[in-house]
Symmetry: C3
């Protein structure tokens, strides 16, 4: 419990999480690579695997460059049904700080997916984020973004980063 650390940084951190959310949901996915440090990581894995210490992840980018590659592949190579995400980000907490000054941030997400052609909308995935946030630059950035979704059923369906 470090309530004053939370109080000091929550608005900055919430801004960063919102920036990520809007970038993806508004189909400006390229923007998220700017929200990571060049040497940052972005991992999406299932609660099932994380709870068992299994390393398998459905997205595992070890640098902003890898993430840019993945986004480019989504834009030019993948064939998939046109769809939008919309997310609810909440329960954001600054829970600690590393020796090097990175903020440890916890949050919950719920993502809804709308298929463009039919208009069908469904709850797609929920889970938590365990992130490290770097405040050194003008804009806050992720040193690590780790999204852990609750349902294994998501794994075969994810095209767009969440």
């Amino acid at each position: 419990m470090n309530l004053s650390l939370h109080q000091t940084h929550i608005n900055t951190v919430s801004w960063l999480l919102a920036e990520w959310a809007h970038a993806i949901d508004d189909d400006r996915v390229e923007r998220i690579a700017e929200l990571m440090r060049e040497d940052g990581s972005y991992t999406v894995s299932s609660r099932f695997n994380v709870d068992r210490g299994l390393p398998l992840a459905i997205i595992d980018a070890h640098s902003a460059a890898q993430l840019r590659d993945r986004i480019r592949s989504m834009r030019v190579a993948n064939i998939y049904q046109p769809q939008h995400y919309r997310r609810a980000v909440s329960a954001i907490q600054v829970i600690g700080q590393t020796e090097t000054g990175l903020l440890q941030v916890r949050s919950s997400f719920a993502v809804f997916r709308t298929l463009v052609t039919t208009g069908d909308s469904l709850f797609f995935a929920g889970g938590r984020c365990d992130d490290l946030v770097d405040l050194e630059a003008d804009e806050p950035r992720f040193a690590r973004r780790h999204m852990i979704f609750d349902s294994r059923a998501v794994e075969t369906l994810m095209i767009i980063p969440i």
Copy 2:
């Protein structure tokens, strides 16, 4: 990116968005007309139309008086199945300020609808809000509220303002 503007005003703006959400979800819909400037606007349109620059909207009130009319019509004239909304409002950001001092505010919403008779609950609509907020009066108010939902399937189903 104007992080300090966001940090200064986020709590005031979040209060206004929450006030709107609770008013509708608690069936005190009349309250939302008080949260608009008399000369304010409230528009609900689909992402499909907004992306194509099409002006069609399912709600388009150009003053608080028009909004009061619409709410009164919902109360006395419309026949519809008893239902409640419940919304998640998140990813709130103050992203700029107009020359006249209005705050440009962006947020995401997800609305769930519960039918009173059956108890069935479903994800009803998600989308983003592009709002202008006026801080001049005692209470913050919307100079413009623009809600843009992701799915075209919503259009024929909306009775209660969102």
Copy 3:
């Protein structure tokens, strides 16, 4: 309307609501009893009953000890399908203060439930919270937590506290 009270305390209150949410969703349910005063109350009831002044509730713990009992019973006695919750907490407002200094706090919740074996995820319950928060101790705590869900269909399905 007491905007300055909201602005002063919103970050502390949001922390508490987030702490509760993560405790349950991460399967550390025992933690929520620490977030209540020993003489606090935790009630979960339907909007249908609350609107009619009916006292029936599906959870009604009049002390942290009663809540601990209920959680223990869930852990050792109840047989139920393995499942996770994930919630979106939003529209948080500090709307007043009691004579004894407790903060009156209002918020909305949406809970999604994932069944572990099948991976099926659904919107499970939405509603509002009417809480009283005590700031006297090191950590903010609930003097009262009252969760009011929108759909009566939830009543027969709730095992894990929400």
